[in-house]
Symmetry: C2
Subunit: 263 residues, 2 copies
């Protein structure tokens, strides 16, 4: 497919090369600044445009991946692209952003992954969640998604909000736990890398056993002696101490099989 | 070395087979109940004992890995094992548990990993942290540790408490984030496995970039609109809502380069 990328952030920077590998042709990279458009445009061998430039309107697919704040205005200012499909990639925004715009065929292409510029991501194993405004749009979107990923699902905007929320817990919050651990070690002059095997094992274990059942450590053991002494160690950092307390209490409640059963 | 394992829990169950692979001989497995001792004893081809049985006193090394609560009384009730080295494996207990007992040569062997029964763990990549009551004990312990692991460090009891605390954040708390994510998905009927690539990438990324610098998501973007709408989605679970709030606030403070600089 001939594709225009609108946005040149982390997601677009990872998607662009994946599109090329899948045999698609990127016919334009559009960004707020020409500089950021150019960086990605060079990597995918496409011309760079700013949002106010007359970028190609004869592509088959437009992928809009800009910040959630910018998305409504970017979509509203799109030129007439005829019957081309226009998708956005935001986890928590619905298809409503396309209503009342010139866009006729639209949908959502939500790849569930955390992206880092310059860290290569294999798109083929990324679960992609789709939604579209018509059966025809969905058919186009599904064919496209299958060229990139083995794991393609239909998901409503409403469910996608929960999926995005779950991803925040699984990715951003767990990463923050790693950052807090790094902070504790740094203060002792212990290199953070000593935790790598533990972190790898913790992530690897969820493939084999539910994280709730696989929990270990002083909280789930209800080892009050260790819980109290660790909380005391955190006295210099009241914020980490609060997190230690609420997480330890929550781990103990999750360990109760009756907890949350009525959801 | 001829080794007696005292305790047959998760750590001992993973250590036992690793000892055999490293060429050591397990000459006894001791546990509170004969049943639990037998399960591990069979796997390492050794006799099983309860703590009140007369188990071998002519081994070269005794590894005591029992719960923190039980450790002091188990150590106090050990028979005279002569010049053999006795180590415990607890992250948050010091060498003081050996003082005033019959044990003459003692120390700590702390492998930093989360262990699951029946989930194989490669010991060679587990960082092991050592402490001993004399240069002689340390030499024995260090030689032993190097037969199991490539990553062997000396660490004081005091520093080990911080290391254990960091491990609770990096392992138990991140695992709880995965459990909360699973909870959110379950309620929507979305299979937890869709998060596996995201979890793998999140853990893998810390090898390449500090988790503090590599943070992504609505909190570090200060996307108030998404933060508020996700907090609202959590209204049915006040506990998860509280965790959402404190973690999001903490992520934003960690993102401030001046935060915690004075430690």
């Amino acid at each position: 497919m001939r594709i225009v990328l609108i946005g040149a952030g982390r997601l677009a920077s990872n998607l662009g090369p994946a599109l090329r590998r899948a045999g698609h042709v990127v016919v334009g990279v559009v960004s707020r600044s020409l500089e950021s458009a150019r960086v990605l445009a060079e990597r995918v061998d496409a011309p760079a445009f700013t949002v106010s430039d007359p970028f190609p309107t004869n592509a088959e697919l437009y992928v809009v991946s800009v910040t959630d704040d910018a998305l409504p205005s970017v979509v509203a200012s799109l030129p007439d692209v005829g019957d081309a499909l226009v998708v956005h990639t935001a986890g928590s925004l619905s298809m409503a952003v396309f209503e009342g715009t010139k866009v006729r065929n639209y949908g959502i292409f939500y790849p569930l992954q955390t992206f880092t510029k310059n860290v290569y991501t294999d798109f083929s194993s990324i679960p992609c969640f789709l939604e579209a405004n018509s059966a025809h749009s969905m058919q186009t979107l599904r064919s496209f998604a299958h060229t990139l990923s083995r794991d393609v699902f239909d998901l409503s905007s409403d469910q996608r909000r929960y999926l995005h929320l779950a991803a925040v817990f699984a990715c951003n919050f767990s990463n923050h736990c790693f950052a807090m651990a790094e902070q504790v070690l740094q203060q002792q002059g212990i290199p953070f890398r000593v935790l790598f095997p533990l972190i790898d094992q913790t992530a690897g274990k969820v493939h084999l056993i539910s994280p709730r059942e696989g929990q270990t450590g002083p909280a789930v053991r209800r080892d009050q002696h260790i819980l109290q002494s660790q909380e005391q160690l955190l006295a210099p950092w009241p914020e980490l101490q609060q997190i230690y307390r609420v997480m330890s209490e929550s781990i103990q409640r999750f360990d109760n099989p009756n907890f949350l059963q009525n959801d």
